[in-house]
Symmetry: D2
Subunit: 312 residues, 4 copies
């Protein structure tokens, strides 16, 4: 019997990289939170304190900021692929690089009568959109021609609610079951989703990642809105299925969805009706529903999901 | 010398009241976080443990939910005035009631080609808007004809950024000053503001509080966008002045604005230009600028600001 | 009628100053979060964008760090007085300086059989204590001989719980009251307290501020533990009274105490007794009880409480 | 090609279960945050909206509270095994149950001269300890004699700091490297660790899980304190190795450790020395070092780590 080093990785987390494009007077902004990690043979650093193979996390930080200028941020995914590729080149003992990005969206501030539309808004003043956070996780393995790239895109905290069109009944019961069946309830969740692109070649031209994100987001929202829900599980499955049906380049999608309970407040005690009108929005506990939907011929995921929080 | 009870108050904080209007198939939603507090002569509860004068915080909670049905939520301000008035009536030894409300906004989920406009979106499915939180603080003192009402409206965490049009120079220097002057920087803040309506009579017809909020918000945004900034102080003053000039019913406005520093990342070390393009968004420390703007003939604020966080 | 600038202040918030004393091999550590603010006549900065009177917040930050070395941190209070005095000297148009400090406590890591006692533990390795945060707010006005200093000490988030010895009954009832009276309940709170020292001269020798903090803390804890509670109000008053009775230099104390509800879980439905044994610890809403206790001959508070969050 | 349901699970998250033992006047308290999840064949709920196989999350909540009374909470691990076993029995289509627990520690309030020692303190008044959170994750698969149980114990946010005895040098350099080597720095982290017990039989008598936790914690702390650090990687490996050497029943341990940077503040600009005395504690970015240490003959982990956040 011996005691040995197992899996390990290291990097710089939460680099807050803000990139302004100011080539013309009409600026654009990309606002990212970037984390990097390297995997590989770093045993000497652990067992002997020898740093000769270790590219410092400080260097990874510098690279993250430098690449925001050198390669730019056409999309979080394209930036992450370039950054991961570079880090792997710079650290010969690394076998894999993972780059995780969160992006915060900004809207132009509307400043005139005709400024409410898509083309309007101020040239260099912005207001944070503040809804969901867009995410991506890119894994790069191998170098040069042997390079393998996996791309996950996703979102956190897309908060949605249906005020009707949701039921929950016909469920399994045991001696601890007290929940009453309902044919009309509020259904609300704060959705986290990640989807895997079938091949990194989506980045080689073909796919506009910003447009892809917007399209998946709209598919998720409209399916949530228009699907009658007999359980959050059914709703998630329908949302995942809709995304795969309409996006041939996506191989699978995973969801983590807290069921944010809205409890009908008992107003009968005060002589008042409450027919689905007044609710207490409860914090804890919450249901937590997690599911994945995939193509049965999806290409192998490789290391795409390694140490990625798919389920919470 | 004696030891005595000083100022005191008590109530129920953070009641998460959600009200759905479902009179037609096209639902609307008001999503509030409601806190109540009573002031007055509650000495016996403190010194003798005698609760005879104390309306329990649990009862205050029940009233907050019941009033969401009984009087409804035409606006946070109108609901808060009704709730505060009721609590004062129910607790004879109370001399003042304060109701604080935070409101979270929801948008209808767009579900079709023609659904992007104002009139569109799904009938009963919503997505959380997720930008700033709308607030109000209402103070009620006296009963019946002698009732005095003060109304503060406001917002928290309206996050805005200018990528140019901001400078900082000509400042006072001492032996600890190392900051360099700049004629072009990023200016960003997460704005908290509260404004006081000149009289509670704004609620008696005349003023549409939802429209008033939207109008103040747009005035703040467009002034931020279009004003060249020589300091955050100057920008805040301009924003406050613009609100007072365009809203005659507002007596004063107070701001608390963290200066969210965006530090130009030194890329020269890597042979790269960085002419205002790549920034590190820093967390702490941050500048904190706080200011109020008012009419010199503003009516007395009474208890409007008592125990209210105007400045952070 | 004119629109004018009202009260205002500015400074650098949340400077995370860590000071290691390493004069001997046995190090000590002071870990602070320091915020500064200057009040005074800064109208030109607001109305004209003229910064000539403005000592930059960046300079305030530098001073906060430099003073951790130059004057050191004998206690948060002494450091804050020195820093506030300096800032006022450096900004001629300022009329008042406020320095707010939060301190995080560290314990020495125990490393041997005989290391559990007060004198033990490692020389330079520490573990964060992690209970309440110690606070102070110091206000300095005037310069030289005319200098006036106010000192508030305090704590945030001292979380305490009684599993019995607490009741709540005999309260006022109205049509919305449904709460049942109880003669035995769990009482829990996360205490925020601030106390005002009768004169800043406490710092001129006489008072050891670290010992003073420890003594007030122990008085609060033991009074909470040993007082039968007929309401959280009564408990807070008893705690405040005990502090004033045992600390002659303290003029007043203010509390903000959320009543963290522990709801007895209904287990009868499953044929189980639950005689005060199993509770759901609820998040929101919570009662919020706020009170102050003072000497009737307390010296005037001056600006001690200006823009300080005494009540939440 | 078809679109299919992939892995999925569901449960009730963050049940705040508080259990008071009051068999004698000297109460004890266990304060837990409990999350449950069931895996198995729940396809019908997803694809057809049929809930016949679904034990509601509300029932899982009721069971979590009922079991705090029925089986009690001898330790988080024993409680979690019982709860997971029950949930699996109640849901025939489930193939695995996972129970995650966080425990918050409380100390008795000291109330007298002789109350500082281990046996002292108040009978029913407590103060939250507030350091790290103790955790466990228990996975149960199979029923009756075929039952397989995996037990992970751990902690979150054990915050430790060394003010010397740490260096970082000899590292790999590239064109983006600007970090200077150092032979003396502050090393600080907020440790998350999880360790896997070699067999669930540890619970069958033999092992006192509370004592086991205390022992692992002390081993981690004292190793951190007494090990000279040439990198956080080396420190983590030494800590893991020490735990495995002194605890034969532990098969492996995994760490996630942010390197909380303390940046030496440049005071030379003000004519002041700063020889390791004044630091800025930075928030973001931070290094993130993750590693596992295991026995090379450790028994198979089975589903112990499935959907568990080992690395952040």
């Amino acid at each position: 019997m011996a005691i040995v080093l197992g899996s390990n990785r290291y990097g710089k987390a939460e680099n807050r990289v803000v990139r302004i494009y100011r080539d013309t007077g009409r600026h654009t902004i990309r606002d990212l939170n970037v984390s990097t990690a390297l995997r590989g043979d770093f045993a000497r650093a652990h067992t002997d304190g020898d740093q000769a193979d270790v590219l410092p996390t400080d260097t990874q930080k510098n690279t993250a900021f430098a690449y925001a200028k050198e390669v730019g941020i056409a999309s979080p995914e394209e930036y992450a692929v370039a950054l991961g590729t570079r880090l792997l080149e710079a650290a010969p003992r690394a076998t894999g690089a993972q780059v995780r990005v969160e992006e915060y969206a900004w809207d132009r501030i509307p400043v005139g009568e005709d400024d409410q539309g898509d083309g309007g808004g101020h040239d260099h003043s912005f207001v944070r959109r503040g809804t969901e956070v867009r995410t991506c996780v890119v894994t790069v393995e191998g170098r040069g021609d042997g390079r393998e790239v996996q791309v996950l895109s996703g979102m956190e905290d897309l908060v949605v609610l249906k005020s009707t069109g949701s039921e929950f009944r016909g469920f399994l019961k045991d001696r601890y079951t007290t929940l009453e069946e309902t044919t009309d309830r509020v259904l609300a969740t704060s959705l986290t989703a990640r989807w895997r692109w079938a091949g990194a070649h989506v980045l080689d031209g073909g796919t506009d990642m910003d447009a892809g994100y917007a399209s998946v987001r709209q598919t998720l929202l409209s399916t949530f809105a228009t699907t009658y829900s007999r359980a959050l599980q059914e709703t998630l499955y329908a949302m995942g299925r809709a995304v795969l049906e309409t996006h041939q380049q996506i191989a699978e999608i995973r969801f983590s969805a807290p069921n944010k309970h809205h409890v009908l407040y008992d107003l009968e005690r005060f002589g008042l009706d409450n027919d689905g009108e007044v609710f207490l929005a409860d914090d804890r506990p919450y249901g937590l529903i997690e599911a994945s939907v995939l193509r049965d011929d999806a290409p192998d995921a490789g290391s795409a999901w390694t140490d990625v929080r798919a389920f919470l």
